[in-house]
């Protein structure tokens, strides 16, 4: 029942919640965790005027689906979904949504964190930030690498240090 989509248009958190919940409750879900990422209006150099996201059609969708499969194998979740927007986005716009459903909250929280950490390291999407009429590619952050490496170096039993 998992779903992963790449789209230019905005999304409704309520509609996605309903989509996730619809499949999950009949499978015993008692916890839904969702995360929404927004465009910040600043970077380390000052204010920005929106971002632009590029992706690899085909590979990006399969990488998102592979991530949901990994999350389902690693955590005790009954359903999960990811939506990632691409193209030009204004400050404060919604960029990404992740939702997970499980019988109890802990696995849903862990799975959502795992999906976001791994997405930032392994899914082919690239951001450019606009400052005036200049656009600069965002450089991958070492903190994001560390967040992802944490999952790769830990076993499943103590993934929440």
């Amino acid at each position: 029942m998992v779903f992963a989509r790449v789209q230019t248009n905005d999304f409704s958190q309520q509609a996605l919640y309903d989509e996730l919940c619809g499949g999950a409750v009949s499978q015993g879900a008692g916890a839904i965790v969702t995360f929404t990422g927004l465009v910040r209006d600043f970077n380390a150099q000052g204010g920005i005027q929106g971002i632009e996201l590029e992706y690899y059609p085909g590979m990006t969708e399969s990488a998102l689906n592979a991530l949901l499969t990994q999350a389902s194998q690693r955590f005790d979740i009954v359903d999960a979904g990811i939506i990632h927007r691409v193209g030009k986005l204004a400050n404060h716009a919604q960029i990404v949504w992740v939702g997970t459903a499980s019988q109890h909250r802990e696995q849903a929280f862990l799975a959502a964190t795992f999906i976001m950490d791994m997405l930032k390291q392994s899914v082919p999407i690239w951001k450019k930030e606009w400052q005036g009429d200049q656009a600069t590619w965002v450089v991958a952050k070492t903190n994001d690498d560390k967040a992802a490496m944490r999952w790769l170096s830990e076993n499943q039993d103590n993934a929440c240090d």
């Binding site: 990422g37 996201l53 590029e54 992706y55 690899y56 085909g58 590979m59 399969s62 990632h84 960029i95 990404v96 976001m116 997405l119 930032k120 390291q121 392994s122 899914v123 082919p124 999407i125 690239w126 951001k127 450019k128 590619w137 965002v138 450089v139 991958a140 952050k141 994001d144």
Partner: protein, 81 residues
């Protein structure tokens, strides 16, 4: 022939979105990268340093073997989310 795609700043520096190239010898991604870097100054600059590689839309390393009609992509570390 192999289809090669470029994304983000690698695409901008290369000055091209995609191209086709004959299967390199030996048929590996590393040999393909070296061959491309010899092809032009722009490709040489684009493929320097920390560039990720994908083979038929899966992340791979330089040892990966290539076959006719495969798709290869070069791009920078990802920054989504």
């Amino acid at each position: 022939m192999v289809t090669v795609k470029f994304f983000a700043q690698v695409r901008e520096i290369a000055g091209v979105d995609s191209l086709t190239i004959s299967l390199p010898q030996p048929p590996t991604i590393a040999a393909l990268r070296t061959q491309l870097m010899r092809q032009s100054a722009a490709l040489n600059d684009a493929l320097q340093g920390n560039v990720l590689m994908a083979h038929n839309q899966t992340l791979c390393n330089g040892e990966t073997k290539l076959n006719e009609h495969d798709e290869v992509a070069f791009f920078p570390p990802v920054t989504g989310g």
